[in-house]
Amino acid sequence: MPRIVVDVMPKPEILDPQGKAIAGALPRIGLTGFAGVRQGKRFELTVDGDVTEEVLEQARHAATTLLSNPVIEDVTRVEVLEEDAQ
């Protein structure tokens, strides 16, 4: 069944305490090549049938009303997973 993926990331200007903690942990396991980390969320919405434009619009609506809080987060992706699209 096709899946629509929704990515949500903390807004750039919002301090991301989780990302900061992960960035602090990387050097402790010997990985020093990264200047920063930001932690977001990925949602997969499974569709029973074809992904019509209407279904995609519902996914966009879900992304902006429930899956993200526009005060602190941006929706960075709403699209059908390529591996499912056939």
């Binding site: 903390p10 200007e13 919002i14 301090l15 305490p17 989780q18 903690a21 429930l66 899956l67 809080n69 005060v71 602190i72």
Partner: protein, 265 residues
């Protein structure tokens, strides 16, 4: 004593807790306390309302009726497990739709107080601006916190003096209040910062904000817990009002007497 005034004690034997004064007009004020799956402090809030002299009504998140209550408290806890984001799923509960509508009215809009997770629910419901993110240091914080009442003119703070300080418990993981600078300036300019942290910012909240109100002033949210500082023997070890005995702090009680007295007029 009526059945509605009997409340199981938090600890100890079954001693009924009555309102302070059965004949008081405050007793006629009905304050609803909403229980969501994952609410933890709903019974504490009910108890606080009764200790302040009012009548508390249990409200269930899945119901569609506010049961003619005069005010609503959205208590602390972890509604829906805080899955997705703190307060995000609660916003769409049937009762929240009723509350949002009633709280958005004009001059006689429903007074609503959100405590901790309740504050988070109110921001998600867009009844209050801004949002809450994880505490700066990622720790769950639990301590007695000093606050200053920055606006003693709301439904929930009128029993305090402007600038008065309180000590009430703070306990949360996602307590860092954030909003853009335009919103923060608007909150400051309109006197809508209701409580500010004193003696150190515990979680990185913008401008030391601990509680805010909406533009009409009937909706207030705050992170620390006044309902845990209403009864000597069960409160914080300190008070901003001077020396207290161990667990004797009751600085939070004024929040609940404020709304009762305001509603009685």
């Amino acid at each position: 004593m009526t059945t509605s005034n009997i409340e199981t004690p938090l600890i100890g034997g079954p001693q009924p807790v009555a309102s302070n004064n059965e004949d008081s007009p405050l007793n006629g004020v009905k304050v609803g306390v909403v229980t969501f799956p994952g609410s933890l402090d709903d019974r504490d809030a009910v108890r606080a309302v009764r200790l302040a002299g009012g009548s508390a009504i249990h409200l269930w998140h899945g119901d569609h009726s506010l049961q003619d209550v005069d005010a609503v408290i959205i208590p602390g806890g972890f509604s829906y497990g805080d899955y997705l984001r703190a307060g995000a799923i609660s916003r769409f509960a049937p009762l929240m739709e009723q509350i949002t509508e009633a709280a958005s009215g004009g001059a006689d809009a429903l007074p609503v107080l959100g405590i901790c997770n309740g504050f988070q629910v109110l921001t998600e419901a867009h009844l209050l601006p801004g949002s809450m993110i994880k505490n700066n240091d990622l720790h769950f914080i639990c301590r007695d916190q000093r606050l200053r009442v920055e606006n003693a003119d709301t439904f929930w703070t009128s029993e305090y003096a402007q600038g008065e300080e309180l000590v009430i418990p703070l306990k949360n993981q996602d307590g860092q209040f954030v909003a853009d600078n335009y919103t923060l300036d608007e909150l400051e300019g309109e006197g809508r910062v209701v409580f500010r942290y004193v003696g150190g910012n515990p979680n990185g909240s913008r401008r030391d904000i601990a509680g805010i109100s909406n533009a009409a002033g009937n909706v207030v949210g705050l992170m620390p817990h006044p309902e845990h500082a209403v009864e000597a023997g069960f409160g914080p070890d300190s008070s901003a009002r001077g020396e207290v005995e161990v667990r004797g702090g009751t600085d939070g009680l004024g929040i609940f007497t404020s709304v009762l007295k305001k509603l009685v007029g």
